[in-house]
């Protein structure tokens, strides 16, 4: 493998569960040496979250964990012991980034708060990703992606008008807004550290990045004086714009006409003769005004069609359309994702050959090939003790026997 953008960067990774681990995955996949510091005394909850290889629960069998932890190494250190905390401090001393997503104060209780770290390593970029940030009346509150999604508005804004909100169905902030904003901030802070030799403290609430990707909704409230409501599958300007049921069980086509020239093309693929729709539907404004009636016409015309065939014909005619793909479509059938090499299968010591996301982008000049699956809990303890901490085998054996390396 050639030089990657983060080759030579070391990360002391105390993150766990969702957003934190996904942040450091991005950095690990691009060459950083990410040392995941964890312990069987307090197992990362996501190691015990389904799905499990063959449905059998185990700390080294979760696919949810595995995908978030590719390319990392794991050292088991019990931070409840004084010697364990001392070892963690030694790793921190030789790291470029120190990352955690605990509630504020937890790292300080290990002697690893920002003030402690700055003293032993002033170059370190210290990433803290607590739920509400390290200040304010809700500083100590706790939450997960799902509850945070509710707190920041994405849950309310996703649903059918007039029904209870539906949300994204996932811990959305954990997977896209929080890890991406965090990784971006770390990369920026690393640049500053390269240029000045100075580290800094990154206080990233797990609420604020998701609110940031809903910006226009807040301007609707403050400029136009109204609370935006969920749009179902609609759009403020385009019509038709929605999901249309196709043949088969739970099969849907997503269709958006984003340009008046696409309207006759859509009609032609759907077999709707010119006379079957009002003339004025030639313009976007009229289609949008009549969108409910329009949706019925389109839905009637798609009901017996095969979703894949229909979307292929619409694309050939220049109409934006795509199948609402389920996990099997995305993983096993989508020819685009296959051509892009999005899915990678890595051989894991306990899970065997299993599925991972490659990065959703290609750095064509410094291409990445994922090779390292998620680590077993403590898989690299001895290796890291030798290489990074400079311990000999006797010392390692003693620390294992005393319950420090566990």
């Amino acid at each position: 493998m050639g030089q990657l953008p983060l080759s030579g960067v070391r990360i002391a990774d105390f993150t766990w569960v969702g957003a934190g681990s996904y942040t450091t995955k991005m950095l690990a996949d691009h060459g950083a040496d990410v040392i995941k510091i964890e312990s069987s005394a307090k197992v990362d909850g996501i190691r015990l979250s389904p799905p499990f290889k063959d449905g059998i629960r185990g700390v080294n069998r979760s696919g949810y964990f595995a995908d978030r932890n590719s390319s990392k190494r794991s050292i088991a250190i019990n931070l409840k012991t004084a010697q364990g905390r001392a070892l963690a401090r030694e790793i921190v001393a030789v790291s470029d980034v120190v990352a955690n997503n605990f509630t504020p104060g937890t790292m300080a209780s290990f002697g690893l708060g920002y003030d402690d770290v700055r003293e032993i390593n002033p170059r370190a970029v210290y990433l803290a990703m607590s739920m509400s940030g390290d200040s304010g009346p809700e500083r100590d509150f706790l939450g997960y992606g799902l509850t945070i999604g509710a707190l920041v508005g994405i849950h309310h804004l996703s649903g059918l008008p007039g029904r209870e909100p539906a949300g994204t169905g996932t811990n959305y902030p954990d997977h896209i807004p929080n890890p991406c904003h965090s990784a971006f901030a770390v990369l920026a802070a690393l640049r500053h550290a390269r240029r000045t030799g100075r580290g800094q403290y990154l206080d990233i609430a797990q609420t604020e990045p998701t609110i940031a990707v809903l910006g226009p909704a807040f301007l609707e409230a403050t400029v136009n004086g109204r609370d935006p409501q969920p749009l179902g599958n609609g759009h403020l300007r385009y019509a038709p714009h929605g999901l249309y049921r196709c043949a088969g069980e739970d099969r849907w086509a997503a269709i958006s006409v984003t340009d008046d020239r696409q309207w006759p093309a859509l009609r032609s693929v759907l077999g709707l003769p010119a006379g079957s729709c009002p003339q004025e539907w030639a313009t976007e404004a009229a289609r949008h005004r009549d969108r409910e009636a329009l949706d019925e016409v389109v839905a009637a015309a798609t009901a017996d069609r095969d979703a894949h065939d229909l979307c292929a014909r619409l694309q050939a005619a220049g109409v934006p359309a795509g199948v609402v793909q389920d996990a099997a479509d995305v993983v096993e059938r989508d020819p685009q994702l296959r051509a892009r090499g999005h899915w990678v299968r890595l051989e894991h010591p306990e899970m065997g050959e299993t599925l991972y996301n490659a990065p959703p982008f290609h750095l064509t000049g410094t291409p990445v090939t994922l090779t390292r699956p998620a680590p077993l809990l403590g898989q690299h303890t001895r290796e890291i003790c030798r290489e990074v901490l400079g311990l000999d085998d006797d010392e390692i054996a003693r620390l294992e026997a005393e319950g420090v390396l566990t």
Partner: protein, 407 residues
Amino acid sequence: MTEGALAGLRVLDLSGPLGNYCGKLFAELGADVVLVEPLGGSALRHQPPFAGDRPGLERSLAFLYQNTSKRSLRLDLEHPDGRQVLRDLAAGAALLLETDSPGRMAARGVGHAELSSINPALVTTSITPFGQTGPYAHHEASDLVCLAMGGLLYLGGYADGPPVQAGQQQAYAAGNLFGAVASLLAVTAAETTGRGQHVDVSVQESVVMGLENAAQFRDLEGRIRRRTGGRQWRAGAGVFRCADGYVYLLAGGIGGNRFWPNLVDWLAGEDVPRVDELRGEQWGEREFVEAEENRELFAEVFLPFARGRTKAELYRDAQKWRVPLCPVARPSDILRSAQLRHRDYFVSVEGPDGRPAVMPGAPYVLSETPWRLKSRAPHLGEHTDDVLRELGYSTERVVGLRKAGVI
């Protein structure tokens, strides 16, 4: 004032909905971001909602949000002189951001290969619905189509209805965000090695990153995850109605059922009837809490209690007992959040019609190199002259370009 972490980087943002937020992230950490817009204005200027619901080039709320802290250069890239201006700009830029169909920039003679012959350290980031390569590279898409093809749409919505999209264009958000990370990775490499590169970002794949564990469920357990919105999917997990709206309760946390005892203690402390029925080891077992009769039992105990309290009261009390519960907040609730006010999260700029426009501010707090809002979104072509003068263009040359309709 401290320099931003990205000070000294010049970014050319030729994008629209797929890249403008990415450019904003660079701008507000200190990069000098120039929006290079076609004569009719960038695509996002034409997207609703508009201030006062009146369309206009300076009235799109999405544009006004995603382009703060940038300058605007109006430039006709269909004109050879316009392309020369872009080449001159690219000579001093670290990053060029574009979201045209694959091959369009190269066809104009300003693709990455040509620009990097002028500036070998230049990073060009292309964010497109399906990426630069593969059988769908030239497919047409919208945010909805990307969300569908990435598999996230299938997970949203109600068990008894169609899938429902995530609000506020989250497929495009994902493309912008992964595009920003990818761009800064490439800039990192360029600053170390002197060599730029072409970065190829797929919005579809960026959406796939949000599937949580759905792909692994398919791979490891052979199950297809389906949508569960609007219902309690596990005892104590889901949306519950209260006095003034809804709250989201996740008593289990992630893995195990960590907070269940806290929840029961809270309800017992409030003298909630039948709370004793929620006690016992069995409430820590996945099969038990997923069973319909136990979900119903929980709802029978919890809902009458929640109905008498507001979402703010439930949030405050639940957190006191260390129970992960949050309000299902609306934007107007969030604008009033005491927490966000304490952190000075929202910022105000001059909006259309001279009225203040309040919007989200720093998505992160950097202690040494703070996030900084530099200015409201630029008017179309507001900085054309400034940018060209900095490039060393003479007044005559600028006048000539303007006469020729290039700027």
